[in-house]
């Protein structure tokens, strides 16, 4: 029996049961909210990508190329702000998490659908405020907003800070909703030990969101107050300590990296299982390491400050704790590869992205360990090595997972199949383009090129040109994806209910799912991704 033809599809789906504009704008359906978030974050990705391309073109020559130093400084700030807060943090949880999490748990919706809708509009309001700041005069502080520079910069920092503060509430609401949903809305038969690992990843993420986001919100608000009212909290002239800001900022912003990475790891786990047709190797270890990362992530912020004058002992402690995070990541990498053992592996595009993910995370993680060894970080801190390191994790890994999720769940979300050959071409271009873009940046960092440099020594030019060439490949790959996915929405072949033959719980519902996810109550009789029996799961 062909598993892709296994089950019947619902006629009325969440997409076609109501089609008016207001039925979208006022929807409380978690799936429509997920789709709205998907559109929003992709727009943010596009904006951030444009900023990135401007930066890369500017860096083609050692001196001024196309923009002034002031514009350049604004560009890298806006690139960072857009990518981190408008794209990366909400990307997987708010878009795919919203769509998939309730279905995976067998629920009809998230716990608080109205709040969920509110989170969309809060995001829009925050993003609007940020965009307003960008159009007004931008900001030139870097996305880290270090004081006292951020309190003195002549640019429009305040609206951008406020915008990020507002977006934080959207994140908190999503986290709160997910935790409550996991606790109260699991269908009968969904034991704690059966919860899919993507849900566990979102759960861990949600905890960080609820705990850390308000801390960040407040510290950004303080910088805002300092700019607008001159409260002097981080101003040395009034006895304030500018380094205190860095502690407060990284207390959130380091865990924020895990807000981005944990859901990505969850996606990878699902995709590895589905395309290897295997149960995950070490379910408990993967779930536990998720919480290990979420917990230890809160105690490693000081590794951003090895050269800021903090005590040598403090740096040592933060160094060791940072390595623990790497251990939890290593556990996951080993377990994903081990999952493939004894499987029935079908190399489809989502799995290709997973391989890309593992590769990039491996290098991102290992260079992370290298910087955590304190002595090496002194040379690398604030150079392009760090830029390359966090792009390997945040762009490389998170973006790979985002694309894997997009391709894996595309049929689920829209009931359409995308052209496979084009998707392979795009995936290979992106992975190759990524490596060409960021590998030279490691070497630039080794050579000692500090980050946020508008001009650089002439002998570094060829590496910068190489990096820009890679960036253009990336841009080409992304446009390719945009074209064929949009094409498939209209002209793509209709998808079967379970085109991959996956036994993830989300495939219990139709593709696309019915308005309330299930036409009859789903039953969870087998563990997730149990491929020991041939039938595909039924669509309820």
């Amino acid at each position: 029996m062909n598993p892709s033809a296994g089950s019947s599809q619902p006629d009325i789906t969440y997409l076609n049961h109501e089609t008016t504009v207001s039925s979208w704008l006022l929807t409380r359906d978690h799936k429509r909210i997920g789709v709205m978030f998907l559109v929003l974050v992709i727009l943010a990705l596009l904006l951030g990508g444009v900023f990135a391309m401007v930066l890369r073109i500017e860096l083609l020559t050692p001196g001024p190329t196309i923009i002034s130093a002031m514009t350049y400084n604004r560009m890298f700030t806006l690139h960072g702000v857009t990518m981190v807060w408008l794209f990366m943090i909400p990307a997987i949880p708010s878009a795919f998490g919203n769509f998939v999490l309730p279905i995976m748990l067998g629920a009809k919706d998230v716990a608080f659908p109205r709040l969920n809708l509110a989170s969309v509009y809060i995001y829009v309001a925050g993003a609007g405020l940020t965009l307003f700041g960008m159009l007004w005069s931008g900001a030139d502080t870097g996305w880290t907003f270090y004081t006292p520079y951020s309190t003195t910069s002549p640019t429009a920092v305040a609206p951008i800070l406020l915008g990020v503060f507002v977006i934080g509430f959207s994140t908190i609401i999503t986290g709160l909703n997910f935790i409550t949903t996991v606790h109260t809305l699991r269908a009968p038969g969904m034991h704690w030990s059966r919860i899919p690992l993507f849900v566990w990843a979102l759960y861990g993420t949600s905890i960080i969101q609820v705990v850390a986001t308000p801390v960040l919100g407040m510290v950004l608000l303080l910088v805002c107050f300092e700019r607008v009212f001159g409260v002097g909290l981080f101003d040395p002239a009034r006895g304030g300590d500018p380094v205190l800001f860095q502690h407060m900022f990284w207390f959130y912003s380091h865990p924020a990296v895990y807000i981005m990475v944990l859901p990505a790891m969850g996606v990878i786990t699902e995709v590895v299982c589905a395309f290897s047709r295997k149960n995950i190797f070490g379910y408990k270890m993967i779930a536990a390491s998720t919480f290990g990362i979420a917990f230890v992530g809160f105690f490693s912020w000081g590794h951003h400050m090895f050269v800021s004058g903090q005590s040598t002992f403090g740096s040592g402690v933060f160094g060791v704790l940072s390595m623990l995070v790497a251990i939890f990541t290593a556990i996951k990498i080993f377990n994903w590869v081990a999952t493939m053992y004894g499987g029935s592996i079908d190399l489809k595009v989502p799995l290709l992205y997973v391989l890309g993910f593992i590769f990039l995370l491996m290098f991102g993680g290992m260079t992370g360990v290298a910087v955590a060894t304190t002595s090496l970080d002194v040379h690398w801190h604030d150079t392009y090595f760090i830029v390359a390191h966090f792009h390997y994790i945040m762009v490389g890994a998170v973006l790979m997972a985002f694309l894997a999720a997009l391709h894996y769940w595309w049929p689920k979300m829209f009931g359409r199949v995308y052209p496979e050959r084009w998707s392979f071409l795009a995936a290979s271009t992106i992975i190759f383009g990524f490596i060409v873009t960021f590998l030279p940046q490691f070497l630039l960092g080794n050579l000692g090129m500090p980050r946020r440099y508008y001009q650089y020594p002439a002998e570094l030019q060829w590496l910068n040109v190489l990096s820009t060439a890679g960036a253009s490949l990336l841009a080409f790959g992304f446009s390719l994806i945009a074209v064929y996915l949009l094409w498939s929405l209209r002209y793509g072949e209709a998808s079967a209910a379970n085109p991959w033959g996956s036994k993830g719980y989300e495939w219990h519902s139709g593709s696309p799912p019915a308005p309330h996810n299930f036409t009859e109550a789903p039953r969870f009789e087998r563990e997730v991704h149990d491929y020991t029996v041939p039938e595909a799961p039924r669509a309820y």
């Binding site: 109260t184 809305l185 308000p214 300590d241 407060m248």
Partner: protein, 212 residues
């Protein structure tokens, strides 16, 4: 299917579950709110460590006596809110509205005293950052104390305003008969919020007014 009039939402499965979810959600939100204050407390701790003498002197500019009255007002109001939850569980809507109104009155009283205190600081020049005009205390430390004072009490006052709005909404709901002995989730979670705002004050009050 949920109808427009019924407050019970169908996707929860059972009423107990809906109540449980609402409580859990509120607790998570409260946890998040607590963390909103952490930076200010951390800032207070750090700068008090930098400028211990100045902070002690600066706190003498505050009206500790009135703050004690404020504390009493808030604690009593919390009692009334707890009473409201008790009454609504028995379905006594009018009494619920009444005790909530009393609690709100106390909240307004609290804010009134706060406003008067602010006005006094204004005339004295005990203001944050660059508006600081006190002459008996150095700018280093002194201005930081008043920055933190205004941020802490101001953030708390904003929460008070939100909580007052919430209680007002609950009063209206109780009077119009929306809440019954069966359905009283909003009163419970709204009450939780009021208690939280109360608890914040119980931390702010000793830190700013009492600690020597």
């Amino acid at each position: 299917m949920p109808t427009e009039t019924s407050p019970w939402e169908e996707h929860f499965g059972s009423r107990e579950n809906q109540s449980k979810a609402a409580q859990l959600g509120m607790w998570l939100f409260l946890g998040s709110e607590v963390l909103l204050f952490t930076n200010l407390f951390v800032g207070y701790g750090v700068y008090r460590y930098y400028y211990p003498e100045v902070f002690v002197e600066a706190s003498k500019h505050l009206a500790a006596g009135w703050a004690t009255v404020q504390t009493l007002l808030l604690v009593t109001s919390s009692l009334f809110v707890a009473l409201a939850v008790h009454y609504i569980r028995q379905g006594r809507q009018f009494l619920t509205a009444l005790v909530l109104l009393v609690a709100m009155g106390m909240g307004v009283g609290f804010l009134g005293i706060k406003g008067w205190e602010y006005w006094k600081h204004w005339t004295e020049g005990a203001l944050p950052g660059e508006y600081y005009r006190l002459e008996d205390l150095p700018v280093q430390g002194g201005s930081l104390f008043f920055t933190l004072y205004f941020l802490l009490t101001g953030l708390h006052a904003v929460h008070m305003l939100v909580a007052l709005g919430l209680l007002g909404w609950l009063v209206w709901g109780a009077v119009s008969g929306k809440y019954t002995a069966e359905y009283h989730i909003p009163v419970e979670v709204g009450g939780l919020y009021w208690h939280l705002v109360d608890v914040f004050w119980l931390f702010i009050y000793p830190l700013l007014y009492l600690v020597e």
